[in-house]
Amino acid sequence: MHVDLVQLAGSRGRLSEAPSVDQVTAEVIRGAMETICFEMAVYVSRTATTPILNQSNERNATILDAQGRLAALSVGIPQFMLTSTLPVRFALDFLGPEEFHEGDVFVANDPYHGGGHLPDYNVFAPVFADDGNGGRRMVLIASIQCHHGDTGGGVPGGYNVTATDVWGEGVRWPVLKVIDRGVERRDVLYALQANNRIPSYIGDIRAQMGAAQLAADRLGDVVARYGTVTVEESVDYTIDYAARRFREEVAAWPDGVYEADAYVDHDPLGNPDIHLHVKITVDGDRLTIDYSGSDERPEIQAWSTFGNTRGYTIGQIASMMDPEIPKNEGFFDQIDLVVPAGCVLNPSPGKPVSAGTHHPGADVGEVIAVAMQDVLPDKAVPQSYKTGIPTIIVGTDPVTGTQFTDHSAEVYAGWCNAARGMDAWGAQNASFGNLWKATAEINESLYPHIQWERDYRVDSGGPGQWRGLCGSHYEKEVCVDAKVYTYVVGMKYPMPGICGGLAGEPNKMVIRHGSADPFTVRHTADWVPIAAGERIMYDYGGGGGWGDPLERNPHAVLDDVLDEYVSTEGARRDYGVVLTGSLADLTLAVDHDATEALRSERRGASGA
């Protein structure tokens, strides 16, 4: 049962030799497809009942052609979406097109059959149309992928970060047919339900099924209106267009070989310094990204599947290009991706992946940005994060008497790097902009806790000519006795500075904060008890700065001090800016002479 994922992701044939469709028609059809993707995503929001589906926007709608090439998408979170084509390809290859019928709907979630990690469920439906010979054939496939709150396995929530293999992480469904020619497979739906802890799970799967069916209907209308061949040629046209635009961008990058290393503090078992290496080769309009040399230690617990690694790679590259290039197969197909089998970024089958989805998965964005910073200083903004996993709190709800699982899906700020010409802002990187996280007034009504603090913490943003975002200081009091499960990284390796900017402050997490018996998380908290009235404290790490902090405009530093992003001491220490007067009295001013003198001295010291 070994599927070669690299081969699964490989180039697939086009639909037409030389598309004769005109640009306007291709554009109109692309617009219709993207609108249908949006309609799919909105349908799930409207009909799902679980907050993670209807609130967080973690849902990705895509349209593929009958070969499994991505034609259009409406993305939830960039890094998470790009894994959604491979499960469809597996189904196409394994079942063969002959087992795809009009009215079918499929479900899949397995990381070793193209998925990212087990909680991500893909639901997809084929679209049939006239084949021009009086028959019908498959033209397109509509797919919607959502992250679910549970997927069976040893730990509620889908993140069993101490599992020894993928089977311990949850139930695996390489591909299931849930609707067969319009008829629901009750046996299959029942099996899905039986393998999940959350009662509303199957309702959410049904929401995805409805969305895929809606899209299949709407796509059927589009194909009927424009004709099968025109639609297929339009898909080719749009894919060709993205490929050409991608190559033009790469051609504008300086030729060369760029290498970098990045590390994850440790895996959940405490194996230290998980190593990522990248070698990026720009040769004319060709781009090769090679992760050879990355960690291969067999004892590692956290692995990123090939599909996951590919998704994060493309997410990072996309952020470094014209945002308007359509994200389709043409975009994906232009990267020569080398990920040796058996390294942490392409594990051999069976390795656990739920923790690895985030780390080392997300860290490929960081290593790419670091590698390219000297040649693409304007674009090197890592679209990654240092989250570990969300903090899971379980206990007994005092009102209902039943167990609650609080995934701590709340707003916090962290890990957002500055870009050239712009201080970092908001809560997270741009690529997370579609998230919509809960706040105190939502979650305190649902779970027994109090969110006391969530503000930016002073001096936590990486200093630079442009400043990294401050991380937030988070304090949450639990109102009942509970247990805490989590995994923390970014303590030893915080978000790096770029082009001479400094790193952001690292993460730090303490359970039972302020009590006589605090528990500082070293790598994981494996159901650490916490008593009613005690607090969880999480100092989220800052983003890295961009450029030399001694080049920052002293008035911008003064503004930062007035706004308490930076302290008076921090201004002097990190930026070489000397302020006079007092923050309390609002009499602060830049001492230009002293600042110039201090900066000269610092520059001299660093030059020497």
Binding site: E34, V381, A430, T439, A440, D563
Partner: protein, 689 residues
């Protein structure tokens, strides 16, 4: 009391539109240039124009006015220019930065260099105050009054003029916000405005509430000053009656109400048009439709079902701030007559960049040199070369052709007509896709809807957008050029109030529900009183805001029991919710216990409505109104297309396509295979083949 004149005045970007219903029931339209520095000047200019038409003095007209209803973009302009009052915030300690974190939302997910929104209150002007309520309104930490005093002094020192207060769970227990407001007034007696979050938006969650409250505090002093000025001018001119202001809920209210809730004026501009369309549709017997306003720079659309515009309570972003109040759901995309066409990297793109009205399309000859949608319209023969824009303008079609040739056709390798047709197809598809997205959010199927088009370019493009959506019935009102003013004039008085109370239905405290119902009734009465509205002229609807556990949005379920709610009513309320959920969302969970999230009240008092919206002509046989023929292109080849004089046509007159009906400010395009009939209310009704 004798019936006098009624006037609706809507301020747009370029023109201030007026509509006046005379004592005899005649409907008069007029337009005057908007005066951006002080919109009240344009308003008074417009009234003077009307007086001229009625051959009386401004003072004589004002003395005979029954009512003046006004739509203003002052709030929007304040946010566009970010020139509101310097604003500070008192906020629960630990939650000072919600407004910057925005629940993680960023508008551009692919662009790491996309900038932050311009701040209303920078971090230094956001003062953390130790205090805390829990979700049941119990005090966890008492209000630190000294911190409030020190904070207010600091804000004064920073030059703040307006103060917003947002404490957690204040909508459950407002005690701390109220006390903090008292301290603000003690420490800062001449503060120009104080916004309390529980008054501006009486529900959670806190990001939405702090954003809404900050915007309110920021624009309120500007609105108050503007409305004062206008009232004074009206009084000086002899008007003794009530001034009413249009809100984004689609209702109107008096100045002192809107000055406190200035944020409800935001985005009220397009709402007037939707209200006008709703009335026109009602007269034509249409209940379910899409209202579209295609102007020079934007395409605004709204869904109306059951004769009522859809109201959106969530995800109302305006000028990069979240407005957590119900608004008529008007969505806007950058597609209009001025939208610029260009070829970028081999792809033909249209909009969102716009040449606007200055410099405008190339064919206007006012210095615009980039081809626009209007230029494509001109090249394809839809627009008259002479007599455009009320006869005040001629179109330079040759210049339009040259610009399209240069910027589109050459790069695409096609001829100029094909390029112009490509521009039409792209912009029409963009508008159709935008419409589909709005309908999708409401679960509506376009094929079951009619289509009502207005705005300067709505009549030109209506047929193509409707065809793209599979809609067969299209209404183009003759009053379209002043439709927003009509909507303003006919809007009802509306008060929409929400009180939060989150509880599983099975655990509802009946006494609390009854007292909330009493509270909102009481407040609505207080708000309606100054408008001179008696209780019996007002209809009041009470709703329970409900959802299934875990859902993110509320449904308003009728709660007619109100203050007499009894235990036995709860089962029926649950059933009402399940049924409504099934109707609107396609499914329901009868085995699940719904959650109550609050009580909502909508009080509405009807205003008189005219029975027609534009005067019509007398010609029943269209050939008598034929002005000539023009070659026009509908996708195959140019065809000689008859051109009719719209104002001459009488109700009942039917015209078959292809045809062009010229109105003073627009052209109604009738494609081949379609017909248009003028109805008695002054609307062209198109039936597409």
């Amino acid at each position: 009391m004798t019936v006098g004149y009624r006037v609706g005045i809507d301020v747009g970007g370029t023109f201030t539109d007026l509509i006046c219903v005379t004592p005899a029931g005649e409907v008069v339209l007029d337009k005057t240039p908007t005066t951006p520095e002080d919109q009240s000047i344009g308003v008074m200019n417009g009234l003077a124009l009307l007086a001229e038409r009625f051959a009386c003095s401004l003072h004589e007209l004002c003395a005979q006015l029954d009512i003046v209803v006004h739509g203003t973009t002052t709030a929007d302009n304040t946010m566009i220019e970010m020139n509101g009052a310097p604003t500070g915030l008192l906020v629960t300690k630990g939650h000072r930065d919600e407004i910057e974190m925005r629940r993680v939302h960023k508008e551009q997910i692919w662009d790491p260099s996309y900038p932050a929104p311009p701040p209303i209150a920078r971090r230094r002007a956001r003062i953390p105050i130790p205090e805390r309520m829990n979700h049941e309104g119990r005090v966890l930490l008492p209000l630190d009054e000294e911190a409030v005093r020190a904070g207010v002094r600091r804000l004064r020192h920073l030059g703040v003029e307006s103060i917003a207060i947002m404490f957690l769970f204040s909508f459950v227990n407002p005690e701390h916000e109220r006390r903090a407001a008292e301290i603000v007034r003690e420490e800062f007696p001449d503060v120009s405005h104080v916004s309390l979050s529980h008054e501006v938006m009486a529900r959670g969650p806190e990001f939405e509430r702090v954003s809404t409250t900050l915007v309110n505090a920021y624009v309120a002093p500007r609105i108050a000053a503007y409305v004062d000025q206008l009232q004074e001018k009206l009084r000086d001119a002899g008007y003794a009656g009530q001034l009413l202001i249009m809100q984004s809920t689609g209702g109107v209210m008096p100045p002192d109400y809107v000055a406190r809730r200035a944020v409800t004026l935001l985005a009220s501009g397009p709402t007037g048009g939707v209200m006008g369309a709703t009335l026109a549709a009602k007269r034509a017997g249409i209940d379910d439709f899409v209202a579209v306003d295609m102007g020079g720079t934007s395409f605004d659309l709204a869904l109306v079902r059951g004769g009522r515009p859809e109201i959106k309570t969530d995800w109302n972003w305006r000028y990069r701030y979240y407005i957590g109040l119900p608004m008529v759901d008007v969505q806007s995309v950058g597609a209009g007559g001025g939208s610029i066409a260009r070829v970028r990297q081999g792809a033909l793109l249209v909009g969102p960049d716009s040449a606007g009205s200055a410099p405008g399309p190339v064919s206007y000859g006012r210095g615009g040199d980039r081809p626009t949608v209007t230029d494509a319209d001109a090249v394809l023969g839809y627009l008259p070369e002479d007599g455009f824009a009320g006869g005040r303008m001629t179109l330079d079609v040759e210049a339009a052709r040259a610009a399209i040739e240069r910027d589109a056709a050459a790069a695409l390798g096609v001829d100029v007509v094909e390029a112009a047709w490509g521009i039409e197809r792209i912009v029409n598809a963009n508008m159709a896709n935008a419409t589909r997205r709005v309908l999708a959010a409401h679960g509506a199927d376009p094929r079951t809807l009619a289509f009502i088009a207005y705005g300067g370019n709505g009549a030109v493009h209506a047929w193509a957008i409707a065809a793209e959506l599979g809609i067969h019935r299209v209404l183009v009102p003759r009053a379209a050029p002043a439709f927003s003013a009509l909507g303003v004039l006919v809007a009802d008085y509306v008060v929409d109030l929400v009180r939060s109370y989150v509880v599983p239905l099975s655990q509802v405290d009946l006494e609390r529900m009854r007292s909330l119902a009493h509270e909102v009734h009481d407040e609505a009465r207080k708000e309606m009183e100054p408008a001179g509205l008696a209780d019996d002229a007002t209809t009041v609807e009470l709703f329970a805001q409900m959802c299934y556990p875990g859902q993110n949005f509320d449904m308003s379920v009728p709660l007619p029991e109100g203050e007499t709610l009894a235990e036995s009513d709860l089962l029926e309320l649950a059933e009402r919710f399940h049924t409504q959920h099934e109707r609107d969302r396609g499914f329901c969970f009868r085995n699940q216990q719904p959650l109550v999230r609050g009580v909502r009240l909508v009080a509405r008092s009807e205003t008189p409505k005219p029975d027609h919206f534009a005067e019509t002509g007398t010609v029943l046989d269209p050939s008598a109104a034929l002005k000539g023929h023009r070659d026009a292109y509908f996708g195959v080849a140019f065809v000689a297309t008859p051109v009719y004089d719209g104002p001459a046509l009488a109700p009942g007159c039917t015209i078959s396509g292809p045809a062009l009906i010229e109105e003073p400010f627009t052209v109604v395009v009738i494609p081949p295979g379609a017909t248009a009939t003028l109805d008695t209310a002054g609307n062209y009704e198109l039936t597409l083949g």
